[in-house]
């Protein structure tokens, strides 16, 4: 049974500005689904439509098998954590967390019990009498989470809950959310972020949004290993995947591509004979590049800048102005490469092939499994 189901959901502002269209999603009970995508792609809008704060202009939204398009937010069984925490500044932490319960006319004993239980979980017991302004950013964020916990919702909605925290606190709070999810395996969570590390670490499934639609849905590693299109390939992973143009010169179980830059790439993604001679893009992640010996190479270029991080060395190759540089991430320390013409290659299993932006792993939208080497 799907807990949250979106069918052909779309959003148009003012009758003309179409922000989202044709969104289909099945979010199962107990899942932690992360919406990720570039800024302005409609993540918050989609989340707010699930919350009921934004009107759904097309399609249907079901929560627990019930169409809730026209059900007010408080009756949808959802709770939301806002990016700015949205704590009520004039209420103590206790009153903030108790607000929803008191509105629901719960007895004061019940309220106390629920608030204290939530405060315990979030290490907030000592701060219950404080006003939000007397709390640190991390504590405020925990109060915001506590405020949703006490309501015991079916679905938790998070809108970039960590983006106002500094880097160290972000990691700590991220772990806390992961633990919280583990303590509440039954509850469904939808989490919005533009940060792909958050998405990779928290999600059971990631929904990549782009251009008003869903670019790909899948478990984090699926998206990393088997991206459906160039957008997802470049969005997931950092530094992003290198995209290099070429032409197919060999088809079959393996695909061979002659690179426009002079090299030759072999990919273990199969291709049909019809693709012979087709212009394609080869995708290789920086971390999948290895130094090419005397043999075949995929990329050849002059190293511009190197960044030695100890465990890895990043090579930024010179690129024509306005173009992203090709990046290699080689294990270990490599010195003296700067200004050198260097050749890189990669394991065929790690070489992606995109025709018209779509991966050959998915001919006709179907996922082809590749034998692991």
């Amino acid at each position: 049974m799907a807990d949250v189901k979106l069918t052909d959901v779309g959003k148009t502002y003012g009758g003309t500005v179409e922000v989202l269209k044709g969104i289909n999603l099945d979010i199962g009970k107990g899942e932690l689904v992360v919406f990720v995508g570039p800024s302005g792609c409609g993540k918050s809008t989609l989340l707010r439509m699930i919350a009921g704060l934004e009107k759904i202009t097309a399609g249907t939204l079901e929560i627990d098998g019930q169409v809730v398009n026209d059900v007010p937010p408080s009756e949808r069984g959802i709770a939301m954590v806002f990016q700015s925490y949205a704590l009520y500044p004039h209420m103590t932490v206790f009153d903030n967390m108790a607000f929803a319960l008191r509105l629901a006319k719960k007895s004061e004993d019940e309220v106390k019990e629920a608030v204290h239980a939530a405060a315990e979980k979030l290490q907030l017991t000592n701060f219950l009498d404080r006003l939000p302004k007397a709390l640190s950013g991390g504590q405020r964020q925990r109060v915001a989470i506590g405020r949703s916990i006490v309501r015991d919702p079916k679905v938790y909605l998070f809108d970039e809950p960590l983006s106002n925290l500094d880097a160290a606190l972000r990691v700590a709070t991220r772990l806390q959310i992961a633990q919280l999810k583990e303590q509440m395996p039954e509850s469904t969570m939808v989490y919005v972020t533009h940060d792909q590390v958050e998405a990779m670490t928290l999600a059971t499934r990631i929904v990549v949004l782009a251009g008003g639609g869903v670019a790909q849905v899948g478990p984090p590693l699926d998206l990393y290993e088997r991206p459906e299109n160039e957008f997802v390939a470049q969005f997931i992973g950092s530094p992003k995947m290198n995209i290099l143009p070429g032409k197919i010169v060999g088809t079959g179980e393996h695909t061979t591509i002659e690179m426009d830059g002079g090299g030759r790439a072999v990919s273990s993604v199969p291709s049909t004979d019809a693709l012979m001679g087709a212009s394609v893009n080869v995708g290789v992640r920086p971390e999948d590049f290895v130094a090419a010996g005397e043999g075949d190479y995929i990329y050849e270029g002059k190293v511009g800048i190197t960044e030695a991080l100890g465990e890895v060395t990043l090579l930024y190759f010179d690129a024509p102005a306005g173009e992203d540089p090709t990046i290699g991430k080689l294990a270990g320390i490599h010195q003296g490469l700067r200004g050198q013409v260097t050749r890189l290659t990669a394991d065929p299993a790690k070489v992606h092939v995109f025709k018209d932006g779509v991966s050959l792993l998915y001919p006709d939208g179907k996922n082809v499994m590749v034998e692991p080497h």
Binding site: A51, L53, P72, F82, A86, M91, F99
Partner: protein
């Protein structure tokens, strides 16, 4: 000379005088008194910079001293003196105050002032808040706001004249030109001379001030309402609050500081209310207020002693509210 030209010359002399003062006094300070050259250049610059603030403040200090501080002291002195027939004055202690406290008209003014004090700020603030909230989300909200704000641009005397027409009474048989009587008669009543009916007439006068001050309250509170973070309201919606609960439990508490400032500011206006009463009833029919009482004593009865005593009473009533108001306004600005 044509009065308009006179006015223009006044403006030119006034503005030119100000600019000239600041320019030449600074020139004098920097070039003659403490020139930034010679062996003591550094010391001179420091000294000049220490004096400069006082140079800028000097005109304001003189003006405030002359028109505010001196009158306060002088009023205090006058309130404990009595005019001697034939010229001069003598010290009489608190006799003026004693005389004033024994006058029923003074206590009527006190009582009325207290009523004004409670009713006008309360209703102005409440209506202002209501108008601010109701005009917030509608397309013609700004037009509505402008109309509600417009009375602020009218002087108190002008407003009094307008409302005197509203409350106007014509002898029976003639057409009633006052809207209130027109309504009253249309409803089947006899025309009333509204401003002569005690208690009701005080309320009718207060309505004039409420009409003026609502616009002020609305503008300030409207800005405050806009300053409330939208997400706290959305959080309350998700928490299940209805529009009334959002208004009273989320919005109003968040702008409480501003409400207090608006309330006390209007309170100060009310305590000093004079023009409206003066122009509409002149304190007759039990509508007297302190400021008009003071004016009566000072300029009609020519009794400077009691007049000054009542002025001191008004000042004593205003001061604590003023202090509190400034305190709250400062807190809001932080």
């Amino acid at each position: 000379m044509h009065p308009a030209i006179q006015g223009l010359i006044t403006i030119v002399i006034g503005v030119g005088g100000c600019i000239g003062y600041f320019y030449f006094s600074n020139q004098f300070l920097d070039k003659v008194l403490f020139p930034a050259r010679g062996p003591n250049a550094g010391r001179n610059i420091n000294r000049a910079n220490m004096i400069r603030p006082w140079l800028f403040l000097f005109p304001a200090i003189v003006a405030l001293g002359l028109y505010l501080a001196y009158p306060v002291v002088e009023t205090l002195r006058l309130s404990v003196t009595e005019r001697i027939p034939g010229g001069g004055s003598e010290f009489v202690g608190f006799a003026n105050y004693a005389q004033m406290f024994s006058e029923p008209k003074f206590w009527e003014a006190m009582r009325n002032n207290m009523l004004w004090l409670i009713i006008v700020p309360a209703f102005s603030t409440a209506f202002g808040l209501l108008a601010a909230q109701l005009t917030d989300r509608i397309s013609w909200g700004n037009v509505a706001k402008s109309i509600i704000f417009m009375p602020m641009a009218i002087s108190f005397v002008g407003a009094a004249v307008i409302w005197k027409l509203v409350y106007d009474t014509r002898p029976e048989g003639q057409d009633q030109i006052g809207i209130l009587n027109a309504f009253w008669v249309a409803m089947g009543g006899d025309p009333q001379t509204w401003l002569t009916i005690p208690y009701l007439n005080s309320i009718l006068l207060m309505i004039v001030l409420i009409w003026i001050q609502t616009g002020f309250a609305m503008v300030i509170l409207s800005a405050a309402l806009r300053g409330i973070p939208e997400e706290t309201i959305e959080a309350a919606i998700v928490d299940g609050a209805n529009p009334f609960q959002i208004f009273f439990k989320i919005k109003v508490p968040q702008i409480m500081g501003t409400i207090v400032v608006v309330w006390t500011t209007i309170t100060l206006v009310v305590l000093k209310v004079f023009d409206i009463v003066f122009a509409m009833t002149n304190g007759q029919w039990q509508t007297q207020v302190l400021a008009n009482y003071m004016y009566d004593k000072l300029f009609r009865a020519n009794d400077w002693g009691v007049g000054s005593a009542s002025a001191i009473v008004i000042m004593l009533l205003v001061t604590p509210i003023l202090v509190w108001n400034v305190h709250n306004a400062r807190k809001e600005m932080r």
